[in-house]
Each structure stands twice: as structure tokens, then as C-alpha cells.
Chain length 187, copies 2
DNA sequence: ATGCTTACCAACCAATCGGTCAGTTGCAGT
DNA sequence: ACTGCAACTGACCGATTGGTTGGTAAGCAT
């Protein structure tokens, strides 16, 4: 279902019923309230995320390739499940939403920790002062924000001459791994 | 006004009128439709962003300090105008919203180009293959996503031992400038 | 005084909202 | 054949929605 596109308030039960090819009353037969329906859809999306992370195995011990694999997995997941991703993203996004006690936060925290753990295994290859948590945050943030503002990217692509997604991903990894500053330019 | 917190669909004209201390009909005296009201609020937020960028002057020629000044300015702006920021962010965010032809995209494109230009002036201090557009995108994305998921950060802070905002900003700049990988670790 | 405009309001409108209810299918277990 | 139960529906409910109408009060120029 597509709460993802227009949010909780933007979708009426009638629309949901119509999209599902059933009557409105029937929706209330399966779900107690509108919020209940929303929570179940959300829980489903959360579940998919966790299961996909389970399937990810990083055996490489090289920091660069491990990071690349992680980014690729994350990106692929986002674009394979755009609706669920948008749904979760909407819940993460600032100001309190319809759900007072939000299950999404718990999920994200857990999965974030797992990603951090994956990076911590190769933290000896990182520069001093670089924490795996920071790296995880940067990588996931960039992926998520990039996904979230996809339409924006189209418009910026023309203007700022940013590359296509795979190219951009490569450039991004290069930037993160080696930094912006030219090595021959001391402070 | 606070469309920012609950979005276009989440706020009724009655609430707006009540918050403004006037009658509902009076709102329709000043604004033709609800959408008209929304667009004006949005335009106001856009305007504030542009004006703040005008006030930013970067005279430093050092890449590192210039980047730091830019990040600081952007972050300060975001947290000084959280409502407007959230409003704009909501319009940027994926799936088509209430506004079919969205003025926000145009604004963002223009301002993005200006930021890119600011960075391009010191592009000679960047590593080969690093484009100012990419740097701008990374920096602004991280700031925006960080702002957007503020509540998430609170929860992650406990778990992932991420630092407070100013510390985090410093770490982030360090990471971007010098990269993740340890220099004494050849491929 | 008189117009004219602007800010403002109570009352109202049709449409839609989330949600209920009484009743009908169709199908599995006995 | 009878029962029970889940899936399903049309009609309906009060409340709220975006929006309209007719009218009042105040300011200001003539």
C-alpha cells in the first residue's frame, strides 16, 4: 500500500479500500482502526529491513571493499523497497508523528549498531580519531538522503554536472576514504 | 505557522485560524484557498534561505576553514529556522506533494549552484577527481539529514557514543578533509 | 454625512472523514 | 443438512473538512 507517497493524513481509508479492490467496511474488518492499519504496514517495512540486513555478510577484511559492499547493499535495498523506505524515513523525520511510541526508532537503533559493529571489525585500518559510528552515520545518511531527494538529484544533475548513481557512488567512496584535501597541501 | 510539524494534510484551516487568533472565514479573506496559504508560507521560507545565503561571505582562501565556515553557517541557519527548514525539506522529499510545479526545486538549485561556486574557488586545494559539486552535495546532505533526524540522533547518541553537535561537526570536517583510511595503509 | 475599502465574524454548505451496523455470502467441520 | 465463522458489503452515523455568504465595525478620503 502507498501510505509512503502521501503520508498518514494524506490517504483516506476509502482510497486504501479502492486500491485493494474491496469495500471500506471490509478494511475495518481486518484492521481495528486506521492507525492500526498504518502500524502494521510500518511494522512490515521494518521487518523487511532487518531481514535484508541479516542476509548481508561481509567477509572481506579490507576496509575499502568492505565499505563499498556496505554502501552497495544499502543503496540496493533502498531502491528495491522504495515504499517501505519512504515510510520508515517519514517516521524518522523530525517532529512527532501519528505514532507516539514509535517502533521505528528501536529498529533503526538496533540495525545501526549492527552496521557499526561491521565497521568496527576493520577499525584498525582507519585513521586515528575516526570512530566506526561516525563512519556508519555518514555513509547511511548520505545514502538515505540521496534516496530521499531523488527528484532533486535529477534537477541538480543538469546544473552541477553530478554523475549518474553508480559513478557518484564511486566518487563518494573515494572522497570518504581519502578525503577532500590534496595530500601535498600541508596546513 | 506550523505546517512544518504536521504537513499540508495534517493541519486544518480551523487550526491555523485558531493559532492566529482569528476566525476561519478571515483566513479565507487573506488567502484564496488552503493551497494558496501553504504556497505563501513556503515562499516565505524559501526567501529566508536565499537572504541568509546572501549574508554569507567567505573571504578565507584556505579550503579547510572555508569549508568549516560553510558548514557552520548552514547548520546555524537550519537550527535558527527549524520550521521553514522542515517545510522546505518536506517539499524536497521524494514523491510529488500538493504542489505540482514546485518552486522549492528552483530555489534549491540556484542556492546549490552558489555553494558550489564558493567551493570551486578553492578547488585547486582539492585532490584530483574531487569535484566541488560533490563536496557541496555531501556537506549539505549531511547537515540536512542530521537536522532532519534530530530525534534519531538523541537515541543513537546513547548507543553509538556519537558526540554532541559541535564535536560531531568537527569530527565530520576532519573525516571529509582527510578521509577515513589510515595513510600508512597502502592498497 | 457619504461612500469605499479593508478586516473581521457567525452561520451555513456540500463533501468527505473515520468508524459502525445489520445483513449476506461462501466455505470448512461436524 | 446444519452450524459456525471469516470475508465481505451497502447504508448509515456524527464530526470535521475546505470553502461561501451576508453582514458588521472601523478607518479614511471626499
Amino acid at each position: 500500500m502507498l501510505f509512503a507517497q502521501r503520508g498518514f493524513d494524506g490517504v483516506s481509508i476509502n482510497e486504501v479500500a479502492l486500491a485493494a479492490g474491496v469495500c471500506k467496511a471490509n478494511v475495518f474488518h481486518h484492521f481495528a482502526t486506521k492507525q492500526d492499519l498504518y502500524e502494521r504496514v510500518l511494522a512490515q517495512a521494518c521487518d523487511a529491513f532487518g531481514r535484508s540486513l541479516n542476509a548481508l555478510e561481509l567477509k572481506e577484511q579490507d576496509l575499502a571493499t568492505r565499505l563499498r559492499r556496505l554502501v552497495e547493499w544499502h543503496n540496493a535495498f533502498l531502491y528495491q523497497r522504495p515504499h517501505g523506505t519512504r515510510l520508515i524515513l517519514r517516521e524518522l523525520t523530525g517532529s512527532p508523528t501519528v505514532l507516539e511510541r514509535n517502533p521505528v526508532f528501536e529498529l533503526v537503533r538496533r540495525n545501526f549498531d549492527r552496521v557499526v559493529a561491521l565497521l568496527a571489525e576493520v577499525s584498525d585500518q582507519m585513521r586515528e580519531g575516526i570512530s566506526p559510528a561516525l563512519v556508519a552515520k555518514v555513509v547511511l545518511s548520505l545514502n538515505l538522503f540521496g534516496f530521499q531527494t531523488e527528484r532533486l538529484n535529477e534537477k541538480l544533475a543538469v546544473a552541477g554536472s553530478l554523475a549518474t548513481r553508480p559513478e557518484l557512488q564511486q566518487q563518494l567512496l573515494d572522497l570518504l576514504l581519502h578525503g577532500i584535501e590534496a595530500p601535498n597541501h600541508p596546513p
